[in-house]
Each structure stands twice: as C-alpha cells, then as structure tokens.
Amino acid sequence: MPGALRSGHFGAGALTGSFAPDTAIAEGHQAGKAAAEFCGKTRPVAVAGPFPAVPGTGAGGPPPSGYPATGRGKSFVDFQMDVTAGDIALAHREGYQPVEHLKRYTTLGMGTDQGKTSNFNALSIMASLSGAAIPEVGTTTFRPPYTPVAIGALAGSSIGRHYKPVRRTPMHDWHVAHGAEMLEVGLWMRPYFYRAAGATVDEAYVAEMRTVREAAGLMDISTLGKIDVQGPDAAILLDRVYANGFARLPVGRARYGVMLRDDGIVFDDGTTTRLGEHRFFMTTSTAKAADVLSRLEFLLDSVWPDLRVAVTSVTDEWAAMSIAGPHSREILSKALEGLDLSDAALPHMGLLEGDFDGRALRILRLSYSGELAYEVYVGASGGEAAWRRLLEAGEAHGLKPYGVEALGALRVEKGHVAGPEIDGRTTLDDLGLARMAAKRSGYVGAVLGRRPALTRPDRQRLVGLMPVDAGERLSGGAVLFGPGEVHRGHGRGRVTSVTYSPTLGTYVGLGLLAGGAGMEGTEVVAVHTMKGEAVRARVVSPVFLDPEGARLRG
C-alpha cells in the first residue's frame, strides 16, 4: 500500500507489507487498539501479547511460491479474466511456459487491472511448476498505473453542482420570471409548461394546446440543433446524407428531411433551408444535434474528403421561437412591421430574411403542430427582445407561451414522428416515410436498408390509436395484443406516444403495430402491466387532425 494511511485508517498484515501471520496478528492487535483510541475508547484489553507463534511461518517477506493446494472446484487466480490455477498448469503442460506465452494462452493479466491483482500469484505458480525462482520466470511488460490509483483520481475531483453543465436559451430568464416549470432536456433547460395555464402539467398542457389550436401560441425552440452547411458541394452532401433529395430545392425554400444510419435505421429528422446556391441552414432534433454534426464531420473527413463543404454548429447563434395558431400571421405582421407575410411572399415551407433591431432575422413558415405556424430565428443576443415583442403584439389575439409537453402533444395529434418513434429500431417504411425515398438510391443507409429483415411485411409500422371508450386513457409504453390474446410477451406492437386531444375529446396515441396501416379499423388491447391497465383501442390513421393540411396553409 503506497503512501501513508489517512487519518482514522489503520492497517495490518499484507496491506502494510507484513506477510508473516504472526506479524499480521501483532499488527492487527495494534491497529485495533489504535482504532479504539481514535474513537475515544481507551478501556484496557485483556490480551496484550506476546502472541503465540504460528508454526511454519517466517518473520516476513512475500509468501512462498508454489502451486496452491486446491480442493475440489476451481482456484481462480485472475478474477477479471477467469484464469484458474488449473489453466496455468495446463499452459505449463502444453509448453506455454515463457511468461509472454502464458499470458496469451490464458489471457492472464489482460483485464483492466493489467494483472496487478493476479500476475504475482500466477507467476508464482508457474515458477513452482517449472522448478524455477519467480524472477527466472520473468514478467510481462509492466504498464501504468504502476501503483494503485483511486477511481476518483481518474474521474476527476468532486465538483458538486457543476457535475453537469446547464444550457440556457436566450429566453431562459423570461421563462423563469413568468412561471414556467422548467424541465431538463439533455443539458438544456426548457419550459415544461407555464403555471398560468394550469397548476399541474396535465391541466396546463391541455390548456396550452387549446390556445394554439384556437388562437396562437409561442414556443421557445432555441434548443433545436442548427448547422450551417456551405460550399460548392453542399447540395451533393445533403443529397447523400438525407434519404430524400435536396439538390433541386430552390433557394428560399425549406424541406423536411430524414437521415438514416449506415444500417438503414432512421437516425434523425429535421428541416433544411436553402439560403443560397451553395449555402443551407439545417435544423436537427434537440437530442441529436451533436450526433448529426459529428456524423457530417466524419463523412466529410473520411468518406467524401473530396467534397468542398464546411459544416459548423450555429445552435448558439440563433434564438428560435415558433409562433403557431390561426392568428399567428396577424401577430407576426404586427410585431415585425414591414415584412410581407402573404402566401405569395412567404408560402408554406418558405423563407423570409430580414433584420430585427440590427440583428439577422430568418422566418421559416413551417408547422410542427399542424397549425399555420412560423419559426422565427433571431441573433441570440436579441432573442428575449424578439420574444417580448411577439407577446406584446399577440396579447390582443390571445397569444400565450406554451411548453414542451404541449409541443409534444400537438405533434402527436398531427401524427408527426419524434424521438419515441425514431428510437433506433425503425425504418423509413416503419414510420410511414418510405415515399420520401421511393425512387432514390445512393444515400447513406440505402443499401443496408434493403436487407430482408428491414423490409419484412410483418414489421411493426406506425399507426394511430384511439380508445374504444373515449373515457379511457392510453399509456405510452403499453404493449399491443389482439383481442382475446394472452397478455404475455412482446405482443404485436407498442404504444409510443400518447396525449389527450382537447379537439377530439379523447386520448389519442401513436404506436408501432405489426401490419401497420393495413390494421386500420381493427381493434387491439393496449396492456400496461406495470400500471395494471388493459385498454381496448381502435387502430386509426396516425394523423388525427386535419389530414388535408388546410389549417397549416391558413
């Protein structure tokens, strides 16, 4: 044991380098006394020594080498690599006696401790079997750490509340000052719901949804990943990383895109806007922002180094907010006077660039909720001012802020997939997005996405679910069974996302079900064993609201 023991710690025996039993006994007695004194217990003890000699032991030094006297069963020498004394004997019989051979034959010392806890005993056994002294057997290459190192030294010092950094959006202080219940989303703090809308999240999110559907809501979406993609080959890069094409996207227009992993599984989705011939503005999900950037950098550095493209995270550059609802255009026009927000000037999936108090301004007409909606991007330092401006302009129109719970609920009503569906197991076809890439090839994931297991007709695919009894509540994570089936095992699918729909007056859910859209009109049972629930549900289209898209077109 290198170094000195800490205050209140007392050692004896091999820990202190004393291997002989009688020395260990004496040291143990002394350590016990010292520990008692340390604790304030100084009562005399009955046994004070000298202690009886232990036969057959010397005065100290390391233990004698030799093959251990094993009883029945295995005698483990290397607990990390499961090497037994028998394995070492076998290595000896097979001729793997040199220590480097012994190591490779048995995997001795290949664990994370690099043999620190096992090599001495193993070499001792091999020395005994070979009739040699331990130094003659030799040692393998000795690697650091040369002395025991506390895990804490490797992990870093205790930093208390700073263990995890916190990311705050430009509007963070406004949210806190105006009664937002904040929620950790990765490292970000996001408004979960606003207490002005309800005392509990269940009350508040439904009220916030109503506001968006009937008037207008304002949501802080600054946490979305944002990537600047520039260069003469930028369109080629996007054509390859998205399953759907971007090369023909006109300047000033945005397009929803889906990326696949190499293995054909959906990786992330988002919207990319063409700012110029050679420049695009990509958004990613909040959760995958870093992964997508890293993926693009990897592809450019290693797979297509010939492409002249630069990718840079601009997530922190922009404060972003979404204004959604039937009054959103009037409010935006009032807040940002002089901008032409007509359908002709800013159609659905269109871009408008401008200026907000001397900072760059981008307005994208996109809808996640299914309502007429705009994403407003302002230079980050002007984020809170823009947020306040919009709220002031929208006060007379009933504009109110809404949080991530309502955001998630609105997208469920509209049938948009998100993290619960893009869960690392689903394909484009599973999510009802196969048409996007129907006639394309040459994009990441295209080849392996055609493997039989990913194209089987019985794969679980996206469906909508509504309780047969409108008063019943669906639960996310419930397993789907056919009527009358025994509720055991993995069933026919699962419920991925659930919300109460104030528009429909019932809970609605998205799920992945074997047979997918072909099961529409049939009935399933959503079983949540942990909650003791079994809810009859009808399989419906995943788009619960406005399937024609009339609302989002204003």
């Binding site: 970000w188 002249r308 630069a310 840079t312 601009v314 997530t315 922190d316 922009w318 230079g379 330092s381």
Partner: protein, 166 residues
C-alpha cells in the same frame, strides 16, 4: 506587480470564421492575407494581430478572426472557401489574477506551463466537455471564448473555483 485578486468580465465576442477547402488552402490564405494586409497564423494555436483583430488558427483549415466590437464581413470566393459570422453564439470571459491558473486548473485540463499555452497562444479544450477556446493573453490573464448557452453554467463554476482561492 501582478494583480492579486481574481477578475472575470463577461463580454460579447465578435467572430468571423474562415475555412478553406482541402485543395485551396494556399490560395485562400493568400487571398485573405491580401485583404487584411497581413500574414495569417500558419499553425493551429498560433495567434496573430491583423487589422485590429486577432486571427487564430483553430484547425488546419479553419481560422477565427476575433474582434472586440464587430468583425467586418469578408467576401470569399466560394471556389476557395467560405466565411461564417459567429458573433452571436459565443461570449468572451476575460479572466485575470494571481490565482488564475489555480482557478482554471479545477475546470480545464491545460498544461499552462507548456509551450502550447504560453502567453500569446490559443488552445482549444473541453471545459465540462464544452468546447472552449482559451487565449492566453498574459502570464496571469486569459480569455475563454465559450458558447453562449453554457455561459452562465461555466462562469458559475469559475466563480466557485475562484472563491476557493480568495
């Protein structure tokens, strides 16, 4: 005499990022240098003053022009490279004081005595795994250029570390 107390001032940070393509770095560098009227840093971590700005090579093909106020826009030939303003997304922490290195040693893993972190050099590192650029401005002073969204979290940590050395 060295400043004894630890100081931290948070300020905006004007940045223009310049990046060349793999096969055009020489021409790109020459064009930018001609525009700015001075030589650009050649190696990663090198900092040079040009046209009232600090030019920092933060990657083999990537430069940052950092200014106290605004950084003028540069017209870049897209056949050679590109430019991207980054002035909204980062803030600069001016740090100084006798215990500067002790304070920062609790937060970032930089060998402040090594040549790569000598006064006048720049080092990119992870602070809390957050990418930051450290500009060593003097033996007892440095600027940290940090992402805006992490600014409060990082300044709180630095403040707590500084309190331990007060």
């Amino acid at each position: 005499m060295a400043e004894t107390r630890f100081h931290m001032i948070v300020e905006p940070c004007a940045i223009l990022q310049l990046e060349c393509w793999a096969d055009s770095c020489e021409a790109f560098g020459a064009a930018i240098a001609a525009h700015l009227g001075d030589k650009l840093p050649a190696e990663v971590g090198e900092v040079v003053s040009v046209a009232g700005l600090k030019a920092v090579r933060i990657a083999p093909r990537r430069l940052w022009l950092i200014g106290d106020e605004a950084v003028p826009a540069l017209s870049v030939d897209s056949e050679l490279g590109c430019a991207l303003p980054l002035s909204e997304g980062r803030v600069r922490l001016h740090l100084s004081g006798r215990h500067l290195l002790d304070v920062l040693s609790a937060c970032v893993a930089i060998d402040w005595n090594g040549p790569q972190a000598a006064p006048g050099r720049a080092v990119q590192t992870g602070f809390h795994r957050v990418p930051v650029l450290a500009l060593r401005t003097a033996s007892d002073a440095c600027d940290l250029v940090v992402p805006r969204s992490f600014e409060r979290s990082l300044t709180e940590w630095i403040s707590d570390s500084a309190a331990a050395h007060a």
